[in-house]
Subunit: 205 residues, 2 copies
DNA sequence: TAATATAGATTGAACGTTCATTCTATAATG
DNA sequence: CATTATAGAATGAACGTTCAATCTATATTA
């Protein structure tokens, strides 16, 4: 709508500041959790005053919601990418290492766990998380269904849904594993995961 | 040393009170998280004054640590139980339903996620959690190793460790799944899990 | 047994601090 | 000059924790 974009400011200036606050807040949340982090801490990390934060976010919860939404958008992208592969089974087995690596990164895992824990009790955050999860499940179910049908298997929708949940549990479970066992052998996990995914997608009734 | 035990009080009175506080606190923590719960809330839920809480716990973190320790002791018991089964593979497949049910209970899952999220940033809680996890892994590794050797397989320790991590990730991952997808089809998950566990324990190089 | 002493359980108010949020004033921008 | 960005002080509520006081019940004494 706005025409004058001579300067990079205009609309983008505000978004830059918002991103700056998001990044600083995410850092704080990783270290101290949502409710262990104060606005004062966030403002310090972002290099601005406390009052200024409220110029860009209505309140603390809005910052949390923004980070959650941004984070979930990223994971939706990852899930959708799989569908474009020519041989889905091979692609999933091959890319298992990426999924394992991604979910085992402790700082990422910490924030993700904070988000789910918050979703377990905060209806507003739960809504955002569940909508994103629904989209991810749908995408993954499509991917698996296509692959199974192409291989000549006949599965009920419940079976497909069960496979989706099992795969999701495996990868998301790694976020818990990396906290509970920081010395976990990543290579060994990748090897076992590959075999399990292969077997799951090839299984006959 | 003390002889007079006419009344059930003496030493047990204090433990009763501690248990009462633990239960009330766990309830609050489930609903509002560790750092979203105030001592005032806990004291109200436990039906006693705020000051009285400090008669039994040094501070808020001590209550958290106590609940965490108690919770982890229970999961260690569950893991150890498996070892006594005659046919471990059958037992694991048969008892998959219990593991799935247990980890899918939303109120249990919520507190467990709160604990892991706290462990991700609080070294004291991390220490408790990791010690318990080490014990569980050891027990599960023994169980799997025995079963695999009995079936004539030759696995490296890394492979056994990978299997342990995969199984742990699957079941613990369900805690995340039940929050992100409350409508999850439990029966479908049980069926897929059974097959996956069977295949994992029977797999050949 | 009646009277007193003592220990521990329990209370709720008070403390100093920190919190999220709002208000006010100044600087930068266009 | 008008608007927006920014800073920082101000506000009142809520926090974890402490503490002096009271209540309850058992033990001691006479």
């Amino acid at each position: 709508m706005s025409v004058t974009l001579d300067h990079p400011s205009e609309a983008s200036r505000a978004e830059t500041r918002r991103a700056q606050i998001r990044a600083a807040a995410a850092d704080c949340f990783r270290q101290h959790g949502f409710h262990g982090t104060s606005i004062a801490q966030i403002s310090k990390a972002a290099g601005m005053s406390t009052g200024h934060i409220y110029h860009y976010f209505e309140n603390k919860e809005a910052i949390i919601a923004d980070i959650v939404a941004q984070d979930l958008e990223r994971s939706l992208t990852l899930t959708t990418e799989l569908r474009s592969a020519s041989d889905v089974k091979d692609a999933m087995v091959e890319r298992a290492i990426e999924g394992v690596e991604h979910n085992l990164d402790p700082s990422s895992a910490g924030l993700q766990l904070e988000i789910v824990a918050e979703a377990a009790r905060n209806p507003h955050i739960a809504e955002i998380v569940r909508a994103a999860d629904r989209a991810c499940r749908g995408s993954l179910a499509d991917t698996i269904r296509t692959q199974r049908q192409a291989a000549g298997h006949q599965d009920s929708e419940a079976t497909i849904a069960g496979m989706v949940e099992a795969l999701a549990a495996m990868f998301e479970g790694l976020r818990i594993r990396t906290i509970r066992n920081p010395d976990l052998d990543q290579a060994a996990v990748v090897q076992v995961f590959r075999r399990m995914i292969h077997d799951l997608l090839s299984q006959t009734p």
